[in-house]
Symmetry: C2
Subunit: 537 residues, 2 copies
């Protein structure tokens, strides 16, 4: 083992890679697997940005998606919104640089989180057709247009063909030509994605032009805007030592005590004192920048021992019961449904979240499988549909974990039912880069189950009532069918006129049927009642 190793030879092999090169090689990590799904992923990235932007600007979003098939398997995509638009000087970063954006570090409920999505869509277009994306953005009646590609080696935007002019256009319009994608109306396609988006965003109007020219409108079901998402100061219970060190070392507070009070929620002067009492060896009057790792670790540990007011949950933005009812009615037209809003809870000690769920029965509820409607589960995180990776998702786990037969829904798989679950949080624990599944953590699964069980109870009672009414109606109709014969038998036995008896019996039967139809009085044991009637005769 004494042979000489050539260090220079070893060193020559060393290279650095841009994040664009990395994801160029690993497109499947961002949801680009399969033709149908790749197209949906692109539309998802654009629509997500559009909804966030409209919400920021307090605008009722109008979103247009146009998909055209070109020769050679290429597709032309146009995605347009009426949101805030993007300032000219940020267009390059927003659309032509991975890991740049407005949302990454803000603890605030937004759909997008990574500053990765739309730029990667631009890169995908470039990698599959060699063509730049064309961006048009309008702010305050000034319009800016340009072509964008990404320099993969440096992860920098390359902007060409710039134009500026005045026009009454506001928002963003993205045009791109892509290949290695496909369009259909399957569960994983753009149509279904937009349909589900419409359900969770009743304040949005979404128009889709399909490759065959058909125009699908998902109309606005409500003009009520979702409330504005707010920034949240972090809650002490969610704090890791690494975060504390990072925050402390970049804090402008002069003392550790004031640092805690200013930069955390629920951190009162009393709490600072309690914390100091548990850590007497730490000088709370020194600067936060001088906090050592050991001290920070001790503080994080003590924080777990104190009692805290739960995190502020005003920052969470569920769709809301009234809105959700409107949206589900508009799209599913169900016979019956039950929407449940759970109160906010906390996972991992400090991250607030809330679950809203609904079960809809009948009408256009359920997914079409070979002509008949069967159970469909619509999963959402912050009102964004999760179409893929159902397997490893907290929502799927919750659905699987419920004993549906307890709610007379033992055959739920075969029923025309839509289960809707929206997981709402400032930080959604996705299981992968492509944001398709909510990490199946115990606290999350448990909340989802509770919400679904409450919905199930209500739907179960409805179905039970329905079944009962149907059973009763059936008994009546059987009774009606034999009234003639019964009347004649009674005439034979009693000598009374069978026509009179028949009329009397019919009146009785109709009264009973009417009661059943009103549904306000459901006897538990109709058999006995019928027996009583017989005796009356």
């Amino acid at each position: 083992m004494s042979e000489e190793i050539n260090e220079d030879e070893l060193s020559k092999q060393f290279r650095e890679y841009s994040v664009a090169e990395f994801f160029k090689r690993n497109r499947q990590m961002l949801g680009y697997t399969g033709k149908i799904r790749s197209l949906t992923t692109i539309v998802h990235e654009a629509v997500t940005n559009s909804l966030d932007s409209a919400e920021d600007a307090r605008i009722l979003p109008n979103i247009n998606v146009e998909i055209k098939e070109l020769p050679d398997g290429h597709f032309k995509l146009v995605m347009e919104d009426n949101g805030t638009g993007v300032p000219k000087k940020d267009v390059g970063k927003a659309f032509g640089k991975l890991l740049a954006g407005t949302k990454f570090h803000v603890l605030r409920q937004k759909r997008g989180q990574q500053g990765l999505g739309i730029s990667y869509a631009v890169l995908f277009a470039q990698l599959t057709t060699g063509k730049p994306a064309h961006i048009k953005t309008g702010i305050n009646h000034k319009v800016y247009e340009c072509d964008i590609t990404i320099d993969v080696k440096s992860n920098q935007p390359l902007i060409t063909d710039e134009k500026e002019y005045s026009e009454n256009f506001k928002g963003v319009r993205i045009e791109m030509e892509v290949s290695e994608v496909g369009y259909n109306r399957s569960e994983y396609g753009v149509y279904e994605y937009l349909r589900r988006t419409a359900i969770a965003n009743p304040h949005a109007q979404i128009t889709l032009t399909e490759p065959n020219g058909e125009i699908v409108l998902f109309p606005r079901a409500s003009t009520v805007l979702p409330k504005v998402s707010e920034k949240v100061l972090p809650h002490p219970l969610g704090l890791t030592t690494a975060d504390l060190i990072e925050m402390a070392h970049s804090s402008s507070a002069r003392k550790i005590g004031s640092f805690f009070q200013n930069e955390f929620s629920r951190f009162s002067g009393d709490k600072v004192k309690e914390l100091n009492d548990l850590n007497k060896e730490i000088d709370f009057n020194k600067t936060p920048a001088s906090l050592t790792w050991a001290e920070a670790e001790a503080i994080v540990k003590s924080i777990q021992q104190l009692k805290w007011i739960a995190p502020e949950t005003s920052v969470l933005i569920p769709i809301g019961e009234a809105q959700l009812v409107k949206a589900l009615k508009s799209i599913l037209k169900p016979e019956e449904m039950k929407v449940v809003e759970r109160k906010p809870k906390v996972y991992r000690g400090g991250i607030p979240f809330a679950v809203e769920a609904a079960i809809a029965y009948g009408g256009e509820s359920g997914g079409l499988v070979g002509g008949s409607r069967k159970l469909e589960v619509l999963r959402y995180a912050n009102s964004t549909p999760l179409l893929f990776d159902a397997g490893n998702c907290a929502i799927s786990e919750a659905v699987k974990g419920i004993d549906w037969s307890r709610y007379d829904l033992g055959k739920i798989e075969e029923m025309p039912i839509t289960i809707f679950v929206n997981f709402v949080s400032v930080y959604v624990p996705f299981t992968g880069t492509s944001k398709l599944a909510v990490s199946p953590e115990e606290e999350i699964i448990s909340e989802i189950k509770l919400a679904l069980m409450e919905s199930a109870r209500s739907i179960g009672i409805y179905l039970h009532t329905l079944q009962h009414a149907q059973d009763e109606e059936e008994r009546r109709s059987i009774f009606m069918r034999y009234i003639g014969e019964v009347a004649e038998c009674i005439q034979d036995l009693t000598g009374n006129d069978s026509d009179k008896i028949k009329k009397k019996l019919e009146i009785i039967a109709k009264e009973r049927t009417a009661i059943a139809e009103e549904g306000d009085k459901i006897e538990d044991d109709l058999g006995e009642e019928e027996g009583d009637e017989d005796e009356e005769e």
Copy 2:
């Protein structure tokens, strides 16, 4: 909608993020979910590098992993190898910068692929304990030591406490203190990971010191080194337009024709001519740099129409049948096993891969579940164990897709059986960043199934034979049990001495038993044979 939008306010929100910040927030994408799994991921990253490095240097790898539990839930990790070591000037990049490494762009079979793993482990240590990793590396009797942390904001290494001296140490030693991890011997733990690594790397000696002080040695089962992985020129069939443009524009060839001949495998002068005939409008004498997207797209399309010699498969490095047999015997001590090597195939048109598979029965085959051994499936990609995400993996799909009852293995789930599959390729299509599952593509699943079915056939025959021998043995023992009675009955009937008859019968029975034990003559219908014997008496 005429309210003025404050562009500066919008712009202020724009930020850029380093890839280190990105993965700091998204550690689950790199396999850091759960305490046990996080520790395994760290060990995996180090061991993978060690094996690759030893292979490059043609050294039989000795790998030591030491895990100690410290107070406060911290763990100390030492991982040491005898490989090439890392040149001093590359240590920062290798251990302290994400997306830097030797393996990213080379089309060559290596375990690591991303230049992400060990640097992220260093970052993980830093994020959970605030402590730098300590690196020691020796090349040519010169040793270099330092502490490394990563500046998260810039994704740059911070090196401190450097030391240089002469010592007869070669290889790499990494020491780190981590928290938020855990150790046990479960399926997902370090022990199981190293056991599986040893099975697929019979040329390696791996020593594990567990937190309780126990030292586990996975001995070297073979001193034959795997062959050296070679670089491969890309095969035309795997080419995308984007890759072609990138290669053409950075090529130093003077003509398109020579560019194809020099930079691709299987691209002869004749093939260039055939290609030109299909694309007469393209001037094959111009420089590759002048190739347009449209031209490249036309060329890629034509390439699909030509007939090609299959890709070179000499670049694939399976473990090899002989090696695998040694390894499986050494670790599983099976009663019976069957190793199958499939010939290399191609997926996605141009990427060569090969499948090697084995089924082992009995001994220490199978996973221990509550004291008894049941089916375990060991999944590997390029000899690296895949412990997690079995659900979405081509190997799991293949196992599920086989009708095991056809091989007398209908109850395989309950049997002491180990299924081993190694997917070998210069490019493994992982389903996620954390490299845990092979993308379930049709061509891949099909090859794995064929390999497993061949193994299954062999194991099925063994089990059938075994069962037959057991059945026969049972019949003999029943017969032996009644010899005394039979002999007395015969004495009553014939007047012959029962002792003599008994001895005769015993000799006959033993002869037959001996035949059964030798197992070289298994009668299909023993019942008839016994009948014949009775008649002889």
